[in-house]
Each structure stands twice: as structure tokens, then as C-alpha cells.
Symmetry: C2
Subunit: 272 residues, 2 copies
DNA sequence: GCAAAAGTGTTTCGTTTACACCCATGC
DNA sequence: GCATGGGTGTAAACGAAACACTTTTGC
């Protein structure tokens, strides 16, 4: 029996937390790992995490450890399982409460905040300490399940994002391919997205010029397109009002308030 | 600090397990509670559960405690959350790993196995000890989610059950009403149900006769079915065998092997 | 014989899928 | 100017939902 000043009538396991942090770099799903500096599993990679303090909840402990070890302060932390195999830690009996978290794209692309923290593409993860391979599998399964029904994907992108970005994210998490048009439709139909009015800096003049050009183009075009109901500058009739001008890609953002309201409606169903 | 012979350098919380046992009496969903004999919350009702031993997993601990306290030995135990609020137990810091379990109908109707254990309809639960009200809410939410996609409902019925029974079960868990015909169709289409050859008392001959027929049928059928991967024994072709002869209601059972096989097929989707 | 519950198909509707072309941008 | 990727509508197929009557059993 170990020595120490905290004594109990019956043996108590240690309780730790572990955080599986998912990040999306625009192409692939990544996870954030820490290289262990001490035994056991010295030199192995592991999830950020550590012992829960006696005066904090597991959630608080997970957030604290995550911040201490990686500098990340994340909004979404989801408990997905508690792992209690008797010998999962060679030192003593340790039960770990596991969470997954989502880091926005810029964090991932920005590189490693913490010295020993590093992002790994999820299909190319090094051997992990303890039972973290197993935990990772469970985390991934849970993420897959959750993203079907909860709008958590947005937590992996920046505040504003384009549809193709969002689609690539869903595709890498779910491991499937969506038809672009169908994906647009379904996403927009949910009603939880908001089209960002892109910042309208500079030169109205240029804008008008552009507009005029477009307009004449689209009129010519109109005949060629026959019945197609193009989104473009209201075919013949609308004079100066509409303005299409796509730049790099239309930006959207997740409208949380609208989602909260929709959720209340008994027959609202979010599904992917 | 308490005295005791198990000492640690840092404080360790106690770890307990709790079991939310669901049961279905044919009409309503019930849960199994135990009246607490000691403080705290003496006289209150609570979930079966208790301290996890240092040499057992949480699952094992939950099963052990459940058995000790209620006499139930159940097959399905699902971890759905770990609760770690700092003051959830007035005695000491206690983290509880919570499971839900499913008890077959006959257990529920059979009454209380253990002295102090009692079934309560879920809409009419007495005040519970600790944070067990909260835990119950979470368990119910989880059960609702799970039953949409996993064939766990059968664990609440007896080995053999009728469609109306199954439907009532789904309806009480999900709180909705299904059209009887649509429910039949959907359930049968999944391919995981098996129509019970009703207890074959009398005349083994009849059984063997039936059996032989079935077998030859399915071989014949094999060619006729071409690419169709039918799950059914070969019902379509059977000319003379068929005889509806409903008694009380046709009995079905859950075919686990078939389910396991179907699950592998990439485009098998179970949903309710 | 009457009331209550089991059993069974078809039609309608909505959702999901499949699919092609134009435009803008960057090289 | 060419390759890459963004943006848009429609038709066909499929699955879900709505719906009524007959049979059996227990009272």
C-alpha cells in the first residue's frame, strides 16, 4: 500500500480525465496528442488529460488539463465514456472519464500551441499510451454518431465557412461522399445556416461597372438557357437591384439562436 | 481527513456504480428502485448500485451490486454517463458511473425479487436520493436515442412476443403512436425477427415434416431468388404449408445471429 | 352477439438520390 | 486558355404515412 496523507477505509481508484481533441485542417480530420515526458509510456503519444482535482467536476478537470497541456480553451466538451479496465495503468488503479472536443480550423492550421502538443491526421496516428487507441476508436465512433444529429460540425470550422468546406468536413468524419447539390439543399433546408453578408468594402463604382457587365451577359445568356430559372440578376425585368458577384465562395455561419428555436418544434429533425 | 488503511499522496474520490433498470409490464415503462436503509437519504428511493471494488471493472461492479441488491442477473448493461458533481454525495467526494439495464417482462410482472426493491412506472417515480432524478432523466434520454438504432427493445420482452406487445413497448419508450400496419411492415422488413413456430407440443412428425419442407424449399428458392438476398426462410414460394391459424397473436423472437450478420452489410440501417 | 384486439395492402405524399452545365478564378 | 472548383434545378425512385375492413377471442 502506498504511503500518503489521504487515507480511506477502502481502496479508492484514481480518477483522471482524457480529452480527444478533433481538428479539421480543411482536408482531413486530425487529433491533438501530447508526447509523454515520463514513465509509464515515456515517449509515447497520449491524449491531453490528467488527474481530476477533488474540488472540480470531471468537465472542469478535463478543461483545466487541456488548457494546461495545450493552451487550448475550447467551448464544446462532450463526455463519451468512462474507462475502467483494471490494469489500464500500470502504476495504480485508474479510472478515466473521457471527453472529446472540437478545435476550430485556424487552431489546427496555426500549428502547435504547446511545446509537446502535435496534430496528427486521424488515419495516421502513432502508437498511443495506455488504452488510448481504444479510447480513440470510441471517440471517433461517438463523433460519427453525434454529427448525424447535432450541429457540432461547425465547431470544427471557423466562424464563417463555405459550403464546400462544410461538405469536406462531413465527408471526412463520416467517410462518405455527398453530391454537392444535394448537400447544399439539405444544409440550407435545415434553416440553421445564415448567409454572411460579405463585408462590402470599397468602390461602389467598380461594383456598378461589374454589375452592368453581368447584366448584359445574363440577358444574352437568357435565351441560351431557355427555361432555367437562374439565380442571376433577375433576368430581364430587374434593372439595377440585384447583384450576384461571387468572390471566393459564399460564406455561411451557424445561427445558434435559430437552431435553439427550431429544436423546440416537435417535428424538426436534423439529420445527416 | 478520514482514517483508514488505504492511503494516497493525493485525495481520491470514491467511485460507485448505479444501475437504472428499465422494465416493461406490457403497458408502461417501469424502473426498479431500492429503498435506502441508512443515511444519507434514509427512506428515500434510489437506484441499485454501490462502491466499485478495486479489482473489478465498472461493468462488473454494476452487475455485482445489481445482483446483490435485487437478485437480477441481466444481460444488457449500457454505460450512459458518469456523474461527478462535487457535492453529489454529502459524505465524501463520489463519482458514479451509471448504466442502464433492461429486464424482461416476466421479471417485472413477477414482482419484486428483493425485499426492498420495487418497480415504479416511470411517469410516477417517488423522490429519489442524491442526484438520481437527474440520472434518471439522462438514462431515459439515452434509452430513447438508443432504441432508434439498436435492437435493444427485445431485451424488455420475453423471448417470444407478439407484434402488438413490441409496438406498445416502442410507443411507451418513444412516446409516440405508430400505425399498426406500418409498424408490422417496418419491423418485418428489418429481417431481424423470426416468426416462432409456435410451441410444437404434440406430433414431432409435424415438426419434422415442416422442417424438411422448409429446407428443400429454400434450396429450390435459391435459384428463383437470383440476386435477391432475401432474409426470410422462403415464405414466398411455400404453397401448401401456409396456414394462418392465429391463436392469441403470432409470436416472434429476435434473431440475434441474423442481426449480427446484417449489421456487417454496409447499407443495412435499423431505424425507428 | 357484441366489444376489443389481431391481422393484412394499397395509394399518396414527401424525401432522397442521381445527374450536367455555366461561371469564376488562378495558373 | 485551361484546369479546378463553386454554384445551381429537375426528374425518377424510394421510403414513409395514411387509411378500412375482416377475423378471432373473451365477455
Amino acid at each position: 500500500m502506498e504511503e500518503g496523507k489521504y487515507c480511506y477505509k477502502y481502496p479508492h481508484p484514481a480518477v483522471t480525465t482524457d480529452c480527444v481533441v478533433f481538428g479539421f485542417d480543411g482536408k482531413r480530420l486530425n487529433i491533438l496528442l501530447i508526447e509523454r515526458g515520463g514513465e509509464p509510456f515515456k515517449g509515447c503519444w497520449a491524449f491531453p488529460g490528467g488527474f481530476m482535482n477533488i474540488d472540480e467536476t470531471a468537465e472542469q478537470g478535463a478543461m483545466r488539463e487541456l488548457c494546461e497541456e495545450t493552451g487550448l480553451k475550447l467551448e464544446y466538451l462532450k463526455q463519451f465514456g468512462t474507462f475502467s479496465a483494471v490494469n489500464r495503468d500500470p502504476r495504480e488503479r485508474v479510472v478515466t472519464i473521457a471527453f472529446y472536443a472540437l478545435a476550430r480550423k485556424s487552431y489546427v492550421q496555426g500549428g502547435d500551441d504547446a511545446a509537446k502538443a502535435q496534430w496528427f491526421p486521424i488515419e495516421d496516428v502513432p502508437p498511443l499510451a495506455f488504452d488510448h487507441d481504444y479510447i480513440l476508436r470510441k471517440a471517433t465512433e461517438q463523433l460519427k454518431k453525434d454529427i448525424h444529429f447535432e450541429p457540432i460540425g461547425f465547431g470544427l470550422l471557423d466562424e464563417q465557412f463555405t459550403m464546400p468546406e462544410l461538405q469536406r468536413l462531413y465527408e471526412s468524419i463520416l467517410g462518405v461522399h455527398f453530391d454537392r447539390r444535394n448537400f447544399y439543399k439539405k444544409m440550407l433546408q435545415t434553416g440553421i445556416l445564415e448567409e454572411s453578408e460579405e463585408e462590402i468594402e470599397e468602390s461602389e463604382t467598380q461594383f456598378f461597372g461589374e454589375h452592368k457587365e453581368m447584366k448584359s451577359m445574363s440577358i444574352d445568356d437568357l435565351f441560351g438557357r431557355s427555361h432555367h430559372d437562374r439565380h442571376m440578376p433577375a433576368p430581364s425585368a430587374t434593372p439595377p437591384t440585384e447583384e450576384p458577384r461571387r468572390r471566393k465562395g459564399t460564406k455561411f455561419s451557424f445561427n445558434k439562436e435559430r437552431y435553439e428555436r427550431l429544436k423546440e418544434d416537435k417535428n424538426f429533425r436534423l439529420e445527416f
